[in-house]
Symmetry: D2
Subunit: 191 residues, 4 copies
C-alpha cells in the first residue's frame, strides 16, 4: 500500500546490544517495552541525511506522542569514521541539538570500536538513517533505509498502536494481507 512498507514478513526484533545510553537513567531493552510501539531510529551523528531529516523526525515523534504508548529510541550505529564519532562526540552532539529521546550506542564485537556494530548487524541494516517500527508484540513491522515521510510514518504508528497484542501476532503472521505494515522475514531483511 505504501512505499514505506518494503518487506513482507514480520520477525521477532533482535534485542538491542548497547554499550552505553544517553538521555535515560537506566538501560532499555525491547523486552521491557512489550506492549508499546517502538520507533527505532538508527543514525550516525555525521550523516547529513540523519541530521537533516531522520533525527528531527525522531524528535518530533518523541515530543508529540504519548511515551506510555510509543517509545522512541535512537540507535547510534557507527560503521565508518569510528574515531570521530565516539561516545564523547555523540554526547556533545546530543547536547547541542537538544535531543531528549533515549539514545543507545550500538556495541561492537570486542573492545575496539571498528567495523559494523552488533545491533546494526543483527538487523541487517544497509546504512543510516534506518527507521524500524516494532509492534507491541516485539516484531519488526517496518524496516526502511532512507527517509520515510511524516504522513506515512504517522500512519504506520497509528495502525500499529491500534492492534491488540494478540492481533499484532496474527498480523505478523498474516504477511502481505496485513493492513499497512510488514517487515523482515524470520531470516532477516535480505539486504
Amino acid at each position: 500500500m505504501t512505499k514505506a512498507m518494503t518487506h513482507n514478513y514480520a520477525s521477532v526484533a533482535p534485542e538491542l546490544q548497547i554499550s552505553d545510553w544517553l538521555n535515560t537513567s537506566q538501560p532499555l531493552t525491547l523486552a521491557s517495552l512489550r506492549g508499546k510501539v517502538i520507533v527505532l531510529h538508527a543514525f550516525q551523528m555525521l550523516c547529513p541525511g540523519c541530521v537533516q531529516f531522520g533525527i528531527p523526525q525522531a524528535q518530533r515523534i518523541y515530543e508529540e506522542f504519548d511515551p506510555k504508548r510509543i517509545a522512541v529510541i535512537g540507535l547510534h550505529t557507527v560503521f565508518e569514521h569510528h574515531e570521530v564519532m565516539g561516545p564523547d562526540a555523540l554526547e556533545v552532539f546530543a547536547y547541542e541539538y537538544r535531543l531528549r529521546f533515549p539514545i543507545g550506542i550500538d556495541k561492537y564485537e570486542g573492545e575496539r570500536r571498528q567495523g559494523l556494530p552488533l545491533t546494526m548487524g543483527a538487523y541487517q541494516m544497509q546504512g543510516t538513517p534506518t527507521l524500524i517500527l516494532i509492534d507491541k508484540a516485539g516484531c519488526v513491522r517496518l524496516h526502511k533505509f532512507g527517509h520515510v515521510n511524516d504522513l506515512m510514518l504517522g500512519f504506520s504508528i497509528g495502525a500499529l498502536l491500534s492492534e491488540e497484542i494478540d492481533g499484532a501476532a496474527e498480523a505478523a503472521a498474516a504477511t502481505q494481507e496485513s493492513t499497512a505494515n510488514t517487515a523482515c522475514d524470520a531470516d532477516g531483511c535480505g539486504v
Copy 2:
C-alpha cells in the same frame, strides 16, 4: 493524546450538500463511502493557509494512500467574497494547481451564493482550512480548524483505518477513552 484531537464525542457526520463536483464523474455521498475512512478538507481557493498547507496536504494524502480504503474529498466552503470564488474560478484554480481529488462545491440555501454554505453550517465549521476525519461507520472522529501536521494526521488515519466497523461504532461511543481520535457530540462541535 494529541493536539489534533480537539473534541470529545463522536457523532454521525452530516451528509454533504453539494451543488456541483469537480474531479469525479459522479456525485459522492458519505453514505456511499461507508467502510472507508474519509478525509474531508474544507477550504476556500483564496485562503492563504489552505493554499500553503491544507490543499497540498490533501493532495499528498490522495497520492499516497489507497483510494479503496481512504477517500479524500475537498469541500469548497465559500463564506466570504462569494463573487470571486464561484465555480468558474474554482475550476481554474483546481486546474492550475493540478488537484486530482474530488472537490464538492458546498451548496447555499436558495439560489444565490451568499452567507454560510449548508454543509459548512451543518458541521458548524469555524472557518477554513478545516479538516474532518470520518470513520468507517460514518462518524466524525476529528474536527480541526487550522493546521494538523502530517505526523498526527497520518497517525489518526492509521488508527481509524485499523478499526473494525463495529469497533468504530464502539470507539465512537467510548468517547474519551478512544485511542486517539474523538470529535463533535451529537449536538455538534460547540464552536
Copy 3:
C-alpha cells in the same frame, strides 16, 4: 556570471500601461521613479509558481529594503482565464495575502480583458512569474521568466543600487562586460 542574468543588452524599459492600481494612492510611472532601482514582478493571482515563490519574494524585498532607493511594483499580467482574475478577484487576493506593495493591473487593447495585456506585450514576457530589474537610468537590466533565487536577486539589486546614474547608462552600453546584470536589447528580449 550568474544564471539570473540571461540577456545581453540593456534597453530602455517600456513605460507601464496600467488600468488600475492597488496599494497606492496615486498611479506610478517608471519615469517618476528614475533614480531608484525598480523590481517589477509580473504575476497572475492563480499562477501557483507566483503564489509560492514570486509573490512572497516581492513582499520580502518590499519589507526589507528602503523604499526611497528600491521600488517594488507588482504587475498583474493576466493572459489566460481573464474572467476569473479580474480586478475584484485581485483585490480580494491582495487583501487575503496581505500584500502591501503597489500592484498595477496591466491594461488591454480595447475595452475587453482578453488576450495578452499591453505591458506584458511591450516587454515580450514569456509568462508568469517574470522578474524584471530596471536600473536608476530606466533601463532593463535583468529579465527572467521563472524563479530567481534570493541570493542572486539580492546581489543584482545591490549591484544596480551601487551604480551612479551616469554609470548606469555606461554599464547599460557596456553590454557583456557589465559587472553582473544585463538584459534585453533595444529590439526586445527575443522570446
Copy 4:
C-alpha cells in the same frame, strides 16, 4: 538600511591565523585576495545553526558566484568541546557534507587546542555562526553573529563587488553614509 548592517565603522580585517587548511592546495591569506570580495563564514561543525543555515549558505555562495571576484572562506572557530571537533572530525564532516569551499582551522595560542582561537579573538566574534564580509580593499564591512538571509547577503555582496578599490576605501571612511554596508570600527566590534 538593513538589519544585516549592524556596525558603523569599517576597519582593516585582521589577517587569518590558520593551523591547517581543507579544500585548498595552498594556504590562503586575506592579503593575497585583495581586489576580491571575501565572504568569511565562521562556524563549528557541531553547531546546529551553522549546519542548518550558515554552512549551506556558504556553499550556495561558493557555487553561484564567480570565484575570481568573490572568495568564500570557511573558518572553523572551535571555542568549546575542542576534543571532539578536532581536525580529523572536521575532515570527516567536510567530506560527508560535500563542502567544496576552502576551510581554514583557526589557530590557538600555544600547542593545545583550548579556549578561544586566535582569529576568532582578533575579530572579537561573539559565537558561531558569524558572517564577515571583507571588501576589495581588505576592510570589514559586515560582521554578523547569527543568520543573515540570502536576500540581504546577496545585496551586500553585490554592493561591495560594485565598488572600485579606491571607492571601497572611501566608503569605508564614509561610515554611516555608506550605501549599505558598514562594520566594526578600528577598535573592534564592541562585543
